[in-house]
Symmetry: C2
Subunit: 301 residues, 2 copies
């Protein structure tokens, strides 16, 4: 699998993009790097340039950082002092075949991509990326539980809320460390899977009853579920880790009032394992770019 002949612009980002660059260099793609002027490392055959120097008409793909742009259309880069503008005009210059990639989106990018009509892929919405990312997320959760409690995970009672892509990994990880794990879900197939995993299933309707004896609560459900009346039932020493995207699913105001420690922790992969997180993005991107290249070759034949 090689990407020879593909021209890809990588605009801004953090340490994770270095893994993307490394991978695409290895696969022989032609790279235009924007926003990496402070990066000491030199990649063979790769050109660092300003956004004005990019030959947009020649591009097969544009790779934005995980967070895409700011709401006013700037791309942040930890390897550059200046945010980089990313405008509709630029995307309009690209050929129809050009695909734009980011991790997550926002209203600015949504509108821009709608107007330009180019193919737009949000990598973090893909199941494969979410499942791979659940591994560093679970390890980051383990780290935080060890840091913020005075007891071992081994032997403690942990409730995981939700058996989605993250919930399953978190539940399995804590069980592997010797915790007594119960998992709350609603769908009957999820309750079946929790049972199959050797863990204790419960229906989220019974959440208030089920939190009475726990030491740690890990939430993955992306809407308010750990309410004041749930928190009121927890032992005072319970630690809540909320992994749902902002603003999380916990009533943080009430938790603080009751003296229950509650931590919102989204985006753990980039924090605890930027190299692995970068490799996850790089591997999936390489696969998607290769599929694009194959399709183009087939169309030419």
């Amino acid at each position: 699998m090689m990407l020879t002949g593909m021209h890809v612009a990588i605009i801004g980002g953090d340490a994770r993009q270095l893994e993307v660059i490394r991978k695409l260099v290895e696969l022989d793609a032609k790279l235009s790097l924007v926003g990496f002027d402070q990066l000491a490392h030199h990649f063979t055959g790769v050109t660092k340039m300003s956004i004005e120097e990019v030959d947009f008409a020649d591009l097969d793909a544009i790779i934005l950082p995980v967070h895409g742009t700011t709401l006013d259309g700037k791309v942040n880069s930890v390897f550059s002092h200046e945010p980089i503008p990313f405008t509709e005009e630029m995307v309009q210059k690209t050929a129809k075949r050009c695909t734009v990639y980011s991790g997550i989106s926002n209203s600015y990018l949504d509108e821009l991509m709608k107007k330009t009509g180019r193919k737009y892929i949000q990598l973090f919405e893909r199941d494969d990326v979410a499942i791979y990312n659940s591994i560093p997320t679970a390890e980051g959760t383990v780290m935080m539980v060890i840091q913020h409690t005075d007891f071992t995970i081994h032997g403690s009672r942990i409730a995981v809320l939700g058996l989605g892509r993250v919930g399953m990994t978190v539940a399995r990880t804590f069980a592997a460390l010797g915790a007594k794990v119960k998992v709350g879900a609603r769908r009957s197939e999820h309750l079946a899977r929790i049972t199959e995993m050797g863990l204790e299933p419960f229906h989220l309707n019974d959440l208030e009853k089920e939190v009475r004896d726990i030491d740690v609560c890990v939430n993955t459900v992306p809407h308010l579920i750990v309410t004041a009346s749930v928190i009121a039932k927890m032992p005072a020493h319970t630690l809540i880790i909320d992994l749902a995207s902002k603003p999380g699913g916990t009533d943080f105001r009430y938790a603080e009032k009751r003296g229950v420690k509650a931590i919102l922790a989204p985006g753990l992969p980039g924090v605890v394992a930027p190299k692995t997180a970068g490799q996850i993005i790089a591997n999936v991107l390489a696969q998607l770019l290769y599929q694009d290249l194959q399709k183009r070759k087939e169309n030419k034949q």
Copy 2:
């Protein structure tokens, strides 16, 4: 199991001793607490006093902190401003039946206990305590590996040196998190056990060869084994965590020179899980005190 009729002095210590106090109160022992004057919490039926007020002749047991005394015979307490003297004269006042407990010993305590001839138990030398303590030790190691690497434990290559009480727990824990774990040992029964655990065994004679492809090295062997020539063979990104008691089994000077991160991390249980570490001590102490009490009753009959 009750300790009614036992008179125990608890002298100094840290948060772990609070679990000991809690447990012995629960079992109805008579407690004399020295060095807890700054502790806000009041335990029912427990007397806080200065060392001069202790009725040594009446004591069945003296419980020193995990670290025993300083080398000049003082007991430190996080709940008191002043170190507490612990002298031969005090121990001589006790009845012959009085047993002294600490976690580990030192030359001062060794000599004092030899002179006085009282029964002296170092709890951390017991296999059961060492095995229970290996659980928070392994969790602390997990925490440090997550903190000090940019990759996940899952999928990384980890070498554990030694299959003792700590090595076995550490190896099992990292394997449970999805790491590729190899364990180095010398004894054939250890190599057999490593194989049975589904891990990759190797002989410590081959250490230099085996570290060429690892990401993390966890040492539990209490003498110099991670030598300069071993470190020279490791990839530059390898993280070394040394769990052996001070000064560890790693050539830290050479590791620093070569730019390999190496961390000496003894005493993790008291750091990452003081409550659990305290409960471990409390449970074993309660058992030992109860056995003492039973023996005394039998002798009286």
